[in-house]
């Protein structure tokens, strides 16, 4: 990292619009393209404070500030357009979380980086609707929360309750949601409303280590811990009536279920394995990066291809995982209301991935190009009429699900044409951390947080008390700030606001 005074650093940053900043070449060495990040006033302060802190003399350890990480990504070989920081950006392993970058597949120098996907491959959000309204649920809210908790395994060391053997796992890794369909855990319409139709076709389980499979097998169908959750939410605001209507959301007060989870230990191990492999490949192919954490390999190298194939298998794992929890949630509701999930209209509105790399077609400088788009803590947000979005959303644009943090609101946005041009059809993914975990533990009290939740009318079931402090809303950036920035910058459009009434966590 280049050591400069904060004031010197600022010369490389330029405010383009009230909602975006340009990172000029030279901010970090060897930048092939410029960087851009989207912030409003509040988020801008957080972003620049992080940079200022890092400029203080004697700072060691930890990650680079997010803005430096965005610039380091801009220095990776084969990058096109810009290295994009979304409003919820915060520093992560190699790539910042909330960082999007695209690489030209036809450029032999282009790379793929596991750090640009994240450890939790295909971590994502799924939203189910119901035909219930707040008044139907309020009298049984506690029971319903308990019922969900009794159906979905959560937390450290939890194991799935859907019987799986090694052969089932192999098939699930290859087939993704088609496996869940075949076994009858989900409905045909679920597949339709899922990114990639719930299956990455290039998945190759034979490229995945035995270790990853061993870690994955018992965890399939579990929620996990950390920021993952299942929530019962109520529609609080509808901004785009017509688009909401296409999603089956008619009125305020309607009840939805949101599931935020990923590929569990399976994905973590795939990422770990790939990082080890790529360290070697980098030496062999003389790939220079600004940061050792930006381990990567050329897309067309064996390591690059193997990673893409095993990443696809992990993505499939995550879809099967969310599908299994969809099945369990439907059961929980069906039992509570003594009605079939069908009659409760518990359809999947959409399912997004916010930790993934995908091959997509985009227009760069007026020419169509095939790109490998990395989205780490960033959600795909394709505009209306894009061929890769489901027929039901052809006119509205792709639904983008933005999960809040424990107790805060979540949002549904839609993709826009402007987002397609500016950010390769990408937008934010959630709130993004503002406070460190240790600080949260110190500053917040477990009972206090729980009482506050209760005061807000939120039933909560959580496996780990520590987590309640770490995941308290105070530890995160305000999701409303994040979403409003995306809306104001035009890279996606607000559609629905949801408020939690019950939270299930690890």
């Amino acid at each position: 990292m280049v050591v400069r005074q904060y004031n010197e650093e600022l010369k490389y940053l330029e405010k383009l619009t009230p909602y975006s900043w340009r990172i000029k070449k030279g901010f970090q060495p060897n930048m092939n393209v410029e960087g851009i990040f989207y912030v409003n006033q509040t988020l801008e302060k957080l972003m620049l404070d992080e940079l200022r802190n890092a400029c203080r003399p004697g700072m060691v350890g930890g990650f680079l500030p997010g803005v430096k990480q965005i610039a380091n990504v801009a220095a990776l070989p084969g990058i096109v357009g810009k290295s994009v920081g979304l409003p919820d950006v915060h520093s992560g392993y190699g790539f910042a979380i909330g960082n999007m970058a695209a690489f030209d597949v036809n450029d032999p120098k282009s790379i793929v980086s596991p750090g640009g996907v994240g450890f939790d491959i295909n971590c994502g959000v799924r939203l189910l609707r119901t035909n219930l309204f707040l008044e139907d649920v309020l009298p049984v809210k506690e029971q319903l929360a308990q019922s969900l908790f009794d159906h979905i395994p959560v937390g450290v060391g939890s194991k799935g309750i859907i019987p799986m053997n090694a052969k089932d796992l192999e098939e699930a890794l290859e087939m993704g949601m088609d496996w869940s369909l075949r076994e009858g855990y989900i409905w045909a319409e679920d597949k339709e409303h899922c990114e990639e139709y719930g299956r990455m076709l290039n998945a190759d389980p034979s490229k995945v280590s035995v270790r990853a499979k061993k870690r994955g097998l018992p965890q399939l169908g579990t929620l996990g811990a950390g920021n993952h959750y299942a929530e019962i939410q109520v529609v609080e605001e509808i901004y785009d009536k017509w688009a909401a209507c296409k999603m089956g959301i008619e009125e305020k007060g309607q009840i939805c279920v949101m599931i935020h989870s990923g590929s569990r230990g399976f994905g973590h191990q795939v990422a770990t394995d790939a990082l080890v492999q790529m360290e070697k490949a980098m030496k062999r192919d003389n790939i220079e990066t600004n940061d050792r954490q930006l381990a990567c390999a050329r897309i067309h190298s064996t390591e690059g291809q193997d990673y893409l194939k095993s990443m696809a298998a992990a993505a499939n794992f995550a879809w099967v995982n969310r599908s299994s929890m969809t099945f369990l949630s439907r059961q929980a509701f069906a039992k509570q209301f003594n009605m079939a999930p069908d009659d409760l209209d518990m359809h999947v509105i959409y399912d997004v991935s916010h930790n993934i790399a995908k091959i997509e077609e985009h227009i760069v400088d007026g020419k169509q190009k095939t790109l490998l788009v990395h989205r780490k803590g960033s959600t795909r947000a394709f505009p209306p009429h894009h061929p890769l979005i489901p027929v039901d959303y052809q006119l509205t644009g792709q639904p983008v699900l933005i999960g809040g943090t424990m107790g805060t609101c979540s949002y549904v946005l839609t993709g826009t044409e402007q987002g397609m041009l500016e950010t390769f059809g990408s937008t934010c993914h959630g709130a993004g951390r503002a406070l460190s975990r240790a600080k949260s533990r110190r500053n917040l009290d477990y009972m206090q947080v729980l009482r506050k939740m209760e005061g807000m009318g939120i039933s909560i079931r959580v496996a780990s008390p520590k987590l309640v402090m770490e995941e308290a809303p105070e530890s995160y950036k305000n999701v409303t700030d994040v979403v409003n920035t995306c809306h104001a910058a035009g890279i996606s459009k607000k559609c629905i606001k949801l408020k939690p009434i019950a939270v299930i966590k690890g």
Binding site: V60, G61, G62, F63, H90, S91, G92, Y93, G94, I97, F119, D120, G155, V156, G157, S158, R211, K214, R215, L217, P218, Q219, G224, A225, G226, G265, H268, Q269, A271, T272, L275, R292, Q293, R433, A434, L435, S436, R437, A438, K439, A463, S464, P465, K466, L467, E470, G506
Partner: protein, 157 residues
């Protein structure tokens, strides 16, 4: 249940702490030797997954790790411990004893006996899940002449 010598049931004093980090957790461990700092670091990771006092020593397992430098040896050591927890026998450990510790030459290697029991929800409070070990900001202080042995590792959670 395995039989253990009394000396094997004695827990080491706590020589680790969790440092501030935005999204993840940084473990800082130390000891009178590099070996001890390694053992402490492993226990610290388990300590983030549950409350260690709830863990009884009922069974043991051996793990082995290799590396081309001390950083990668530490990385693989922790990765093996995480794996021991994540799959059969789902061991959560409160005591680690490194029995072979080769930190010189081309191939670095260690062998560790891990003491603990199977993780059982209900008995062991659920802490935070560790997704992966990272190299980021990994620091190894190995200064025998000053008797300083310290490790800094960020675990992704």
């Amino acid at each position: 249940m395995e039989n253990f010598k009394d000396s094997e049931l004695v827990l080491a004093p706590c020589k680790y702490e969790y440092l501030d980090h935005t999204a993840d957790v940084q473990i800082h461990s130390w000891g009178n030797s590099l070996k001890e700092a390694f053992e402490q670091c492993g226990v610290a990771m388990y300590g983030y997954m549950t409350e260690l006092p709830s863990v009884e020593i009922k069974q043991s397992a051996y793990i082995e790790a290799e590396g081309h430098d001390i950083e990668s040896l530490l990385f693989h050591f922790l990765d093996e411990l995480l794996f021991l927890f994540s799959c059969e026998p789902n061991l959560i450990c409160s005591r680690l004893e490194i029995q072979e510790f080769i930190t010189e030459g081309e191939e670095l290697r260690l062998k560790c006996k891990c003491y603990g029991e199977e993780f059982v929800i209900g008995k062991h409070p659920q802490g935070t899940e560790v997704k992966a070990i990272t190299y980021s900001a990994m620091q190894i202080v190995n200064e025998p002449e000053k008797n300083r042995f310290e490790l800094f590792v960020i675990i992704d959670i």
